[in-house]
Amino acid sequence: MAPPIAPIRPTSLRNLNLLLRTAPRFVQNQFRNHNTSTSSTSSVNPTEVSHFNALASTWWDPHGSSRLLHLMNPLRHDFIRGCHASQPEPVAKEGLHYLDIGCGGGIFAESAARLGSTGSVTAIDPSPEILAVAKSHARQDPALASRLRYLNTSIEGLPKPASLGGQYDILSLFEVIEHITHPAEFLDQCTPFVRPGGWLIMSTIARTWTSWITTKLVAEDIVGIVPRGTHDWEKYINEDELKGHFSKKSGWNSPRVVGVVYVPGLGWKEVDGSEKVGNYFFGIRRDE
């Protein structure tokens, strides 16, 4: 089903001005070195947290602003299956442990917890309002309680695993990296949580004219299916930048990328090559 299309809203001059400030211009590689001496204690950007706090109430509304995320969720599982299928040895049929960072209302976390192959899901988010929504929603499915754990924290607040047993088979960052101020540092923080042979899986948006037009101009401004200010185009990351980042770090192998496109009336579809222009999944395996 097509998403509900709101009537086209007249764009005021002020809005247009604000919008154009976010328009594409030359931005160097997202993994450029930033001054590490001011190294923050958290990867979390407070402006982002307050923005998503405000979205909490509509997170599970099937016709609300998160509808596109609900529709995308099955493809996340298909992508993870594809990653597992590419391993030389088959993945375990049960007992897989997930760490979902920036879980939001729990769309992915709940679904991962329902799978027969899942042992546990730990889902974290820095926004207390959203986490309250996630926890309250999970109570509607009594089967989740024993497998799904929500923690109101950032990755820095989560104790580093002391042993292999505390590490995760799948660490997921769905639509998260584009909201992080210092992505390189953040990814380094995530590494110790992935067990050798485990996967880091993420989805995000490429930083291109197309993505600016679709996510800023059309989705946020003209059609309004996504609330204004959800996206900060300058923080978008291209897949070659991600690959470059991980190739410089030792300990990772087998990067996989799949581009996806939302086709009104048909839903999300995997489209070869679209990772260069819009939404894409990225997965990489930690060396054993």
Binding site: M1, P62, H70, N73, P74, H77, D78, E110, S111, A112, A113, R114, L115, G116, T118, G119, S136, R139, Q140, D141, P142, A143, L144, A145, S146, R147
Partner: protein, 494 residues
């Protein structure tokens, strides 16, 4: 409202044994504090109300698919299933409630492993359909073209409904794992409540007349035209009554049919009162479906077997005026028909062979309706089969539409399970509705228009519809299209 008591064993596949043990411990402490009001609430992934062809097919489909076989499923059927389990008749007798199964439905029944449990010697495939206009005499023949004989050469299969439900029930019992609650009625359905064990406020909770309580992640209404599940979900079903009744009977014919046993033919003649159909069953048997006005239906039912047989023969042979007159007689139709037949020209091989007898007690009647629910889904609710739609039997599509619903819903549930989605959430049921609603609506619309088109003697309308039929009969391409639609293998209309 009583607090539902979470039984750990009910959490099924979602909870590992370790956690189940833990839950059991928790429950013990919980139970000691609430001994005064023990609750009977059981938690299921799917509760299906109605053990007819649609409901049983759904259970067989879900249980035979490895992805959905671990769901915790219950069936509630208000009648005892014993008559279905023990259904057995000599080869010379047939139940009067038969349905036409399209090759597409039979393919699905094979996929879910049910077809092998159907008594196959009681199923009659047919490869030709003769349909003609009772007023003008224009006809259209539907025969499977030679080049398609290789794929079975079958337009459809005639089968007793009880034979089908018996096969399905055997398959469900062979697969096991379904909590079958039979002979218990659903007393009420309400939403659950927010408890210490979870928030059940979006879950339907059913209470049976024995006091059993079942919470349903997904409640499936396979409970027929007056669906209580549909009423609970607040879904309106709109339509009209045709002011027609379907008269059914099991007929004994003078032979196996003009094409012999190898090439059985189905006949349907449109009369102004409604279509009358003679559909082949094994051996010298046919099943009758005569749609007519309530008065004439009542009349047919009250006739002696010999007069009834005479009137059925007349319905395929005599003119509309003759039939009108015959209906006014209190009795003596047999004599009247044999006299009139000598004076009415018709080609014997273009109509069914002569009916020579009617199976005792097999004449029955039921009202014909058109109903379509506003939607097939709600939060934690899905409607299938007659609960979603009721149609005129003239195209023999009712049961097949239900099988199409079941296949689509089973696929939707399977996709949800595979992707960790809550199978009951309305959004996750949308693909079921979008796959079925428009398709059913279109087919029902065509069937309804056919009924209305033929329920008239207006010369203008008769002339135009005859032209239409004649044109269709000449154009093999168009005919092939209608045939494939009738046999459920057709092009997607939408």
């Amino acid at each position: 409202m009583k607090s539902p008591n979470l039984r750990p064993r009910n959490l099924g596949e979602y909870v590992c044994s370790n956690c189940t043990r833990q839950l059991r411990r928790q429950r013990r402490t919980y139970a000691t504090t609430t001994l005064a009001s023990p609750s009977n609430l059981d938690i299921y992934d799917i509760v299906c109300v109605g053990g007819g062809p649609a409901g049983l097919s759904l259970l067989a489909a879900l249980r035979s698919n490895p992805l959905t076989s671990r769901l915790r499923i219950a069936l509630i059927e208000s009648q005892s299933l014993s008559p279905t389990r023990t259904f057995s008749l000599p080869s010379t007798q047939f139940s009067n409630r038969c349905s036409s199964l399209t090759p597409s439905s039979v393919r699905f029944l094979k996929d879910i492993g049910a077809w092998q449990h159907v008594q196959r010697e009681r199923v009659q495939p047919y490869s030709e359909m003769r349909v003609w206009d009772g007023v003008s005499g224009t006809s259209i023949d539907f025969a499977v073209p030679e080049q398609e004989m290789g794929v079975g050469g079958v337009v459809a299969y005639m089968n007793e409904n009880l034979n089908l439900t018996q096969g399905l029930l055997r398959r469900v019992e062979e697969l096991g794992g379904v909590e079958v609650i039979e002979g218990e009625t659903v007393e009420n359905i309400r939403l659950g409540s927010d408890t210490t064990n979870g928030d059940f406020s979006s879950w339907p909770v059913l209470r049976t007349n024995s006091g059993r309580e079942l919470a349903a992640r997904l409640l499936v209404g396979a409970d027929g035209g007056n669906s209580p599940v549909r009423a609970f979900a607040g879904i309106e079903s709109r339509g009209w009554d045709y002011e027609r009744f379907g008269v059914v009977a099991t007929l004994k014919m003078e032979g196996e049919g003009w094409g012999g046993n190898a090439r059985k033919i189905a006949y349907q003649r449109f009369l102004p009162t409604g279509p009358v159909a003679c559909l082949p069953m094994p051996g010298n048997h046919c099943t009758l479906v005569w749609s007519t006005t309530p008065e004439l239906a009542q009349k047919l039912k009250s006739l002696s077997p010999t007069d009834f047989v005479a009137l059925v023969n007349a319905a395929f042979r005599l003119g509309v005026t003759d039939l009108k007159y015959l209906h006014t007689l209190e009795s003596g139709q047999e004599e009247e028909v044999s006299w009139r037949e000598q004076h009415t020209p018709f080609s014997a091989e273009q109509v069914p062979q002569k009916v020579v007898g009617v199976q005792e007690g097999s004449v029955a009647m039921f009202p014909l309706k058109f109903r379509h629910a506003d939607t097939y889904i709600g939060q934690r609710v899905a409607l299938i089969g007659d609960a979603a739609h009721t149609t005129h039997p003239l195209a023999g599509q009712g049961l097949n539409q239900g099988q199409g619903d079941v296949e689509a819903l089973a696929n939707t549930v399977s996709y949800s399970v595979e992707h960790g989605m809550d199978i009951g959430v309305r959004m996750n049921l949308e693909s079921y509705e979008s796959e079925r609603y428009a398709k059913n609506h279109l087919l029902m619309g065509v069937v309804d228009k056919l009924h209305k088109l033929y329920a008239t003697e207006n010369p203008g309308v008769v002339g135009i519809r005859s032209l239409g039929l004649r044109a269709v009969n000449r154009l093999d391409g168009v005919k092939g299209f209608f045939m494939r639609q009738a046999s459920g293998t057709g092009e997607k209309l939408l």
